[in-house]
């Protein structure tokens, strides 16, 4: 199975919506790859520069209600084509969370206190996710470990490589 983890892109704000992740004007693209340069183009977050901050990252860490708004799966694909495989947040909007797992990617919820610790690790943080054990190891200037639970069905989707593969076998 796919490995989950990588260097962390911290987006320290709640309610980041899918219009910010990928503006609607790019929804006219008919391939996922074409979305790649436009990631987080309209994100309202002081000091953030997508051109500088996204490259080389594998994990996004954010706050509450991540991915709210439009149902566009383009918001998941634009992460995928930028090699981001996991988003960790306090909570997710339902459709975004489902889209992540449907694509075989990980949307992990952690309590606010754990996120505070994660945001406070300092330096360049790298994360390794052990899906089977439900553990996250994070290493920046300091190290920390977190446990998480994934809805059992979502875990099955991720392990199957997504909803289409799962559904085609079963229904």
């Amino acid at each position: 199975m796919k490995e989950f983890g990588g260097k962390v892109l911290f987006l320290d704000r709640s309610d980041i919506n899918t219009d910010e992740i990928i503006p609607a004007k790019y929804l006219t693209e008919n391939t996922k790859m074409a979305l790649q340069p436009f990631i987080l183009e309209d994100l309202k977050l002081g000091g953030f520069d997508p051109a500088r901050d996204v490259a080389g990252k594998g994990v996004v860490v954010s706050r509450a209600n991540f991915g709210c708004g439009s149902s566009r799966e383009h918001a998941v694909w634009v992460f995928e084509v930028n090699e981001i495989n996991t988003v960790i947040a306090e909570s997710f909007a339902r459709i975004f969370r489902q889209n992540m797992h449907n694509c075989g990617m990980l949307a992990i919820e952690l309590p606010a206190a754990d996120l505070d610790r994660l945001f406070g690790l300092g330096g360049e943080v790298e994360i390794a996710v052990d899906l089977a054990a439900g553990r996250i190891k994070a290493k920046g200037e300091r190290e920390a470990e977190f446990s998480f639970t994934l809805n059992e069905f979502d875990r099955q989707l991720v392990e199957a490589g997504g909803w289409l593969a799962y559904a085609d076998k079963k229904y």
Binding site: D19, T28, A93, R94, N151, W163
Partner: protein, 427 residues
């Protein structure tokens, strides 16, 4: 133990229960538009799985950018059109017959009480107004829906919102839902279904109920839902008259979906709407809502009346009531997009289009276009739009633009005044 309406719908559509928390539902309607469906189609083709589970249960429309504005949007339309023809999807709506999906499909009678409905569009929750479970999904869910006629959901928790009192003149469904979103916040209903009940809902038309349910997603809800009643039966009558002897029989039949008196709700809220005044959003989140009187004087560059929230005939009538014998401010660009050809045609017959034109509005064809900054009224950097749409996110109607959400009455008043103002002054 009693069941809620959504629990009844889920029980009647259960295909599988992969875990105690999740359910796979059989779908009655899978709706498609040209923005989120083409990638599902090309993916199915590339996997050698270019099939549909039932062409009669699939409804498709080109609505987001129509007529096509460039080669890319023309290609999206072509992919959807070719696919609909290839699979003999009868209910496909192209130029001349197309309109905003969540206004068009109800008009065609496609949504019935007790149905399960998905679409690759977050405002699919609109159709809960008919007592259906209707949810927005991503492209992969849509793809599986097209192929297998199923979709996965977590078992729903329900929140019941009881609306009591009487709406004052100049205060409409849009004001009610903006106020509710403010109270719930943008994730106050995540993974929940909002059941709207009470005398205010019972007195609402289907158009108003659709406005109410349309914005349930802005509080994070999976679906907004109303209990189907005589108003629902009257709206659907042209489509169901062969199935029922009378409206009374249909209305009674619909009651089988009503939540039981002992159904369990996670949360029950009650709002008395009597004191509610017209509402408006500020900022970049739909829960950032104020009384319009607190935003008096905010200048606007553009006024947009349309969308799946407020582009229906009642909305146009309400706005026209303010615009009649008035001219819009020279500072303002006014844009009206009737949501469907039927709405457009009815507005022509009633003289409403003439009122908009004489007031100085531009009238466009039915399309989603400007609401999400794709076409037909995109804002420039720093411009402000008074809009009857559903999202005020940063960049939503154009990069650097600012959107204030409000009712059609308030939007018409802003067009006349050139700034945000209390629409009750113009009635």
């Amino acid at each position: 133990m009693g069941q809620t309406i959504v629990e009844k719908i889920f029980a009647a559509h259960r295909r599988d229960t992969p875990t105690p928390e999740n359910i796979i539902l059989d779908l009655d309607v899978v709706m498609c538009h040209e923005i989120t469906t083409p990638i599902a189609i090309t993916d199915l083709e590339s996997r050698g799985m270019d099939r549909v589970f039932d062409p009669d249960k699939i409804k498709a429309v080109i609505d987001h950018v129509t007529p096509a504005k460039d080669s890319k949007t023309a290609t999206q339309g072509k992919i959807l059109r070719d696919w609909a023809r290839r699979h003999k999807i009868r209910d496909f709506f192209d130029i001349g017959a197309n309109g905003v999906c969540h206004a068009l499909f109800p008009e065609k009678g496609f949504i019935r009480p007790g149905y399960t409905v998905i679409m690759g569009d977050s405002h699919t929750c609109t159709h809960g107004a008919f007592g259906a479970f209707a949810a927005g999904v991503g492209t992969t869910d849509l793809e599986v829906g097209i192929l297998k006629g199923v979709c996965s959901f977590r078992l729903p928790k329900s929140m019941r919102i009881n609306l009591t009192g009487n709406l004052s003149a100049g205060v409409v469904a849009k004001d009610v839902i903006l106020h509710i979103i403010k109270e719930l916040t943008v994730n106050g209903a995540t993974d929940r279904v909002i059941e709207f009940v009470g005398p205010v809902v019972a007195a609402m038309s289907m158009e108003a109920r659709m406005t109410l349910c349309n914005m349930a997603i802005e509080a994070g809800a999976t679906c907004g839902i109303c209990l189907p009643d005589r108003v629902t039966a009257e709206y659907l009558w042209p489509f169901i008259k062969d199935e029922y002897e009378s409206l009374e029989v249909a209305t009674t039949h619909f009651k089988k979906w009503h939540s039981d008196p002992d159904a369990i709700y996670e949360k029950e809220l009650s709002f008395d709407v009597s004191g509610l005044v017209p509402q408006v959003t500020y900022g970049y989140k739909p829960d950032e809502v104020k009384d319009i009187t607190d935003m008096e004087g905010t200048p606007v560059d553009q006024v947009y009346i349309g969308s799946c929230t407020n582009g229906r005939i009642e909305d146009l009538r309400a706005a026209a009531g303010i615009l009649k014998n008035r001219r819009i401010s020279p500072q303002v660009r006014g844009i009206l997009s009737p949501a469907t050809p039927k709405v457009y045609s009815q507005a022509l017959e009633e003289g409403i289009i003439k009122i908009f034109l004489e007031a100085g509005f531009c009238v466009t064809n039915p399309t989603c276009g400007a609401c999400l900054g794709m076409s037909n009224g995109v804002l420039a950097e720093g411009e402000i739009c008074a809009s009857t749409t559903n999202r005020n996110f940063n960049g939503r109607m154009g990069k650097g633009g600012i959107v204030h959400l409000m009712s059609p009455l308030a939007a018409a008043a802003a067009a006349v005044a050139g700034h945000i103002t209390d629409p009750r002054k113009y009635q």
